[in-house]
Point group: C2
Chain length 513, copies 2
Amino acid sequence: MSARKSGGRRGQRVTARGGLQQSPRRALRRGYAPIEVIDAEAVERIHAASLQILERLGIEVLLPQAREILAAAGAETGANGTRMHLPAELVMQAVASAPAEFTLHARNSDNDLRFGADHLAFCAVASAPNAYDSDGGRRAGNRSDYRNFLRLSQYFNIVHLNGGYPVEPVDIHPSVRHLDCLADLVTLTDKPFHAYSLGRERNLDAIEIARIARGISAERLLAEPSLFTIINTNSPLQMDGPMLIGIIEMARHGQAVVITPFTLAGAMAPVTLAGALAQQNAEALAGIALAQLVRPGAPVIYGGFTSNVDMKSGAPAFGTPEYVRAAQIGGQLARRYGLPYRSSNVNAANVSDIGQAAWESSMSLWGAVMGGANMIMHGAGWMEGGLCASFEKFVIDCDLLQMMAEYLQPVVVDDDTLALDAIEDVGPGGHFFGTAHTQARYQSAFYAPLVADWRNYETWREAGSPDALQRANAIYRRALEEYAEPAIDPASREELQAFVAKRKEEGGVPSDF
Amino acid sequence: MSARKSGGRRGQRVTARGGLQQSPRRALRRGYAPIEVIDAEAVERIHAASLQILERLGIEVLLPQAREILAAAGAETGANGTRMHLPAELVMQAVASAPAEFTLHARNSDNDLRFGADHLAFCAVASAPNAYDSDGGRRAGNRSDYRNFLRLSQYFNIVHLNGGYPVEPVDIHPSVRHLDCLADLVTLTDKPFHAYSLGRERNLDAIEIARIARGISAERLLAEPSLFTIINTNSPLQMDGPMLIGIIEMARHGQAVVITPFTLAGAMAPVTLAGALAQQNAEALAGIALAQLVRPGAPVIYGGFTSNVDMKSGAPAFGTPEYVRAAQIGGQLARRYGLPYRSSNVNAANVSDIGQAAWESSMSLWGAVMGGANMIMHGAGWMEGGLCASFEKFVIDCDLLQMMAEYLQPVVVDDDTLALDAIEDVGPGGHFFGTAHTQARYQSAFYAPLVADWRNYETWREAGSPDALQRANAIYRRALEEYAEPAIDPASREELQAFVAKRKEEGGVPSDF
């Protein structure tokens, strides 16, 4: 049975086979104007500064092929042979060919996602080296946990796509890890997914797996983005070989590229927000320009990840006031160029510290959603500044994401909802619970939480005073029980298995391990 | 030594006598446009519906004096003798005389607060019947806890005023409770405060205590609002005697009145948000109109508290998507009338469930701050839908409030902050930590949290894996140790003591207890 069948009709809260009550699958749009932290003039100053950085200081481009593409478009090569100076015109002309919106296709077309404008989608946590749940504690990433996170991504309607391996399965040999992981991704889920850019062969394998999973031709795949990659530039101002290959191969195949400089203010970027954002902008524009030079119109997303470090320890901090403002200014910059925007739901709390995780995540989410982000990475499950993926945090985040989704639903103001008749019927001093107006609507009137516990103190105490971590543990286990693997076309499955087997026989990808 | 002296210079982070590091005392302004959840036409529809409610259905006014004031202004008395039908013109003309902004004076003028426009101030938790900390557990409100909460309100710069007794000290006899509590408020703190409207004598006692504490004349007090009261109408559409007396006496003395209907959708208001808000608006406008009829220009604040109930149990829920949207639409309505706006930092989590408390509070805060609230009640310490004031939550909230305050600080974009020279000095692949640009700014560049713990997993684990609740416990105890009673003019103190003694001798206020 397809998990999709439990998704229910739009606008209705659903109970999957009598199981957990979760929000329905639905496309999200942010109907509210995004928050503008700085004025248009300040946006222009950051824009101008970043163009100046790219032209005067330049950026290290550590791949001959990429340098050739940039030089052919008019970039100057620096004295060291790898520094490229990008004229403002080159950058702006290239960026102008990027689409303002595009659709990312899933093998189940019900899960296709639109990026750009006010569209909004949430990704699962990605790339954590460790996994955690309160029973098993913190452990190194492994395939069992990896697969369980994928099942949660598939199960929860509010998780729209996977943005990388939720946890790194280090028990799979690196030479074939991408093959097993991608095969899991396209069989345990039928939502859009991400592929790491760790060398040309891995990119090409991922593109082929996406094509097989969708059962389409290479020509059609070229026109229909069906996977994405994230490029975190080596800030400051450096792009290494695998990053550049990722941009080139993915763009060449019409697949989506997200350029997200990792500009931690005070470490890899200036300590001042404006400077960190100017640098973020320079790096993002450079990567996007390269993608557009490879294939004008290739789908790209402007990524922002600027945060600050804890100046006491040098540790990265997330969900801080600096992070929130940077996320929202990042949105202003992306809109300046008419590009889709990526932000994140991040925090720096340690594994069992759900309180700090909750407030830092909430800050990040408001920064992202009201910053106008279209793709929100690490939406569910991220802890410890990315060093750990938590099963409990995954479902707590699903609650937060569902709340944000519900918050974005339009408030209808009409005769029916103004309810003047009901107010008159009830009259001063009365109670609305029993009225026909209430009875007709109460089951779906309000958001029903996943984890929040609204029992009164006495009842909650009798139940053993369960806190959010404990409740979330029970919920994630139940979600795994209720998970059903989505249907896949048998021919696609067979082709996929054959491809993975063949590539493994060939030895996968050479690795240093 | 005055706690004020530890406040430090504006814009600087301060360490109070080598103690806790907290944000500086500063006046807050929201430089960002508030979020508009509904369009102007929908605002007008709610406005029109609420005027229709007041004119056609009317509102129960359970005090002859109030009915006389309304009737003299043109209201019709209903057949039952207590229902008043308020013509739209009456309401709108009266509301038009309310000031868009006013200053609430503290006995320490450094703590004066401006309400209206984009000014923003945070209150401590108010009116909880129970107190909690993780050592002592949950207990009935008492004076010792009451006084400790006041000390925390005074200690933390981010708490701008007290909005009622943080916890109800039931160990003080009700006939004299207000005298002891108000005396504590004006001696343990020197910030603005609230007085309950529980009968004329209590209102008058509070007004006199505010006058004594400030050492000013009655005439000056009339021109300088120095305390405020909150009126929670008996929703739906009813105001009882003490509420109406509170409005009349406070307005008559030029003191601030906050009208906050308690419109829980599905219980005391329609299950639909638009209807609940139409009713909230009707009740708020009725109370504000009465205040203005008593004294045109009397300072008033439009209060919004619309939330929803858990339809499974009937329990109030807070920090929900419905709450957030209602808070932000409430701001749109208040701005429609050019009135200052009050919202709240609320949640329904049980005492030790800091995770849920954190995410629900965060949602409430974003609703309030970006809804354009000027006064945010229950800013620090509220738990359990208001049934419990928590010492740990108090300092966690201070962290959240400090973060929101820091988020609202303008991002400067100029040559200095764009840091092009630093970016060039560091160059591609370098590190910013050691640069002069960083070194000159790192100490104050970023928000320093109170409770958040950014240590890495290993260090945090070696320290005993303290979660937010445990860390907050240590911090609130330290704040109490560091607290210093603010200086008070000896003449004022003497006059205050004499007044309280005299009123106690007179038996305080008759009570039913």
